[in-house]
Symmetry: C2
Subunit: 353 residues, 2 copies
């Protein structure tokens, strides 16, 4: 592959002039400039990014560390980031951690040796990464965290209003008349999962409704977890009339458990998910969910990052994107109470449906 020396020779100029043309780092006369550009176009020259990166101690790569691209929430985030990166000439190095802390550390350590311009991190857990992230920042690599704030770190950050979203979802169920609400939260060490549960509990407290311990379960953020924990909730007596799921995958598993238990959704039980995956509109019944703007999450993160790279940054900036409740047919008013005595009231309510 051709290099700058070849160009200099063919254009009859010096190496430095070629560099100056390429980087616009000093004024070059029209004549020479044209000669250089012509040669560049003729042999389809492209600068060697490794040499450039070695010299500048910075490349046009941006590391992106996420839990798992296979989790349907993340592709949109990655895509949002990639699009913003691409239009600015940056490329994405994608790393999956599987929420495995040691893998996260491994990626963090190795990525640095490529001197990426920036790093976008969706932390696996609440573990303390501050020393490593600080060392990135000191090394001139911009860092932005998404979704979950790592312990002891306070740089740029983009999140979704998890607590408020879960609060709104719960409030909606309360407004429909539900009094027996349960939740299947996500893993305890994931901050966003925690925030959602917090919103759920806050809504219950505000409505002065008690949460029996058995009504609160924790699950992994996947379907099978939702299925298992859902089945457990459905077996309780009294059975909850509404369940708030920590994410859509959990809700999907729960939906399956409901179906297999011979129950109907929403007549017997209401379900709300979180994420608003595309699938949510296609299930039976369509799943109500709290929408997370994944694409924007990634896009905004990349913009914060590039702002740092271009030194336009001042103090750290934290962006919180809104979560929007999407009501669909998986929620409805509660069924008539099990005890025969309250039938009349229940029927009155039924008519509203």
């Amino acid at each position: 592959m051709a290099n700058m020396n070849d160009i200099a020779r063919k254009a009859n100029v010096s190496l430095g002039t070629v560099s100056n043309v390429l980087n616009e780092t000093a004024k070059v006369s029209q004549d020479l400039r044209k000669r250089v550009l012509d040669v560049i176009a003729a042999i389809d020259y492209q600068p060697n990014q490794l040499a450039r990166g070695l010299r500048r101690v910075k490349t046009y790569m941006i590391g992106m560390i996420i839990p798992d691209i296979t989790n349907p929430f993340f592709p949109a985030v990655v895509r949002g980031a990639e699009d913003a990166a691409f239009t600015n000439g940056y490329r994405l190095v994608l790393c999956n951690t599987d929420n495995d802390h040691s893998k996260e550390i491994a990626h963090l350590n190795e990525l640095r040796t490529y001197h990426p311009a920036g790093l976008i991190l969706i932390p696996s857990s609440g573990a303390d990464l501050s020393s490593r992230l600080d060392s990135y920042a000191k090394g001139g690599t911009a860092v932005v965290c998404i979704d979950r704030q790592p312990h002891g770190w306070s740089g740029d950050m983009v999140t979704v209003a998890n607590e408020e979203g879960a609060f709104a979802a719960t409030q909606h169920l309360l407004d429909l008349g539900h009094k027996q609400l349960a939740a299947i939260g996500g893993p305890a060490d994931i901050l966003s999962a925690e925030a959602r549960l917090k919103g759920f509990k806050r809504a219950l407290r505000k409505a002065k409704i008690k949460l029996p311990p058995a009504y609160l379960r924790r699950s992994t953020f996947d379907q099978s977890g939702g299925y298992a924990n859902g089945a457990a909730l459905l077996a309780l007596n009294p059975r909850p009339t509404a369940i708030v799921a920590g994410n859509d995958l959990i809700a999907l598993g729960l939906l399956r458990a409901v179906r297999e238990a011979g129950l109907r959704c929403p007549q017997d039980i209401s379900i709300i998910g979180f994420d608003n995956l595309e699938i949510a509109q296609l299930t039976d019944p369509p799943l109500a969910s709290v929408h997370q703007p994944g694409y924007q999450l990634g896009g905004q993160a990349m913009e914060l990052l590039l702002r740092q790279v271009k030194k336009q940054s001042k103090e750290p900036k934290q962006i919180v994107l809104e979560a929007e409740l999407k009501i669909r047919q998986s929620v409805g008013p509660p069924p008539a109470p099990a005890s025969p005595r309250s039938r009349p009231a229940a029927q009155a309510r039924r008519k509203k449906t």
Copy 2:
């Protein structure tokens, strides 16, 4: 960040010796070796991959160019590739093309300047990329194509048995007694889409069933395309009793069209998709589909790639993975013919359902 010079100094050896220890490129005495390794461990040294890459004209990066990570089929492929790469010390640079040829070219051109060890390409269309791919190969970058064979190229390659899969799906519908089969294929310039249609047509031909031109439609590989084309098919008279979709997203859109037309699946119409996305099991009714082993597709591609990188390659190798038909409730026997005269027969058959 520390470099090899620092290590040499602290260990009281020469730069060359450090390199020899690091790369095992020449025997180093136990004594010196230990001294070097101790220092390395003490200061947590990691080699600068840019410098190494510049020198070796090869890095541990692997470019992966795909149409769109947001299409739910691709995350599994990417993950399969990433896992295989990671365990071998390689990292993935992910590029989305949106099936846009110019974006594909742009990525192809730019990626090379990072001197990746390899390139995994899922071509956007049948466009001729041979010159560019050849130039990669000549530059020492291994190339493997996935899913769709680019024109005029004959290197390593991993595909799925698209034609056979579609054939099996169609055959199954024929076996159930369907005689009015339609298809919504993918874009005409995508070879895998073409192969699936070929399998569909071959099954019809074998069964001596005619395919009215109106029964064959082409769609983009997404839900909205499936919806629009599905609606068009459902409006035909006579209406098809079974539809083979080019992929699951199309099938999902079609399912929505069926529902909105007030028809029942599978009683009124049978549907089979392609890909067997996780969603397929969760729709109502669960969607029959031809399973594509996405994760293995990516994994095998990466293995072929690494085989080339490690120079264990001989002649180009082409792997074809099997596609497996997954029957679910979206398929059933055809409904009674529309004409009133055949009602009795229809009812007899209904009972079987």
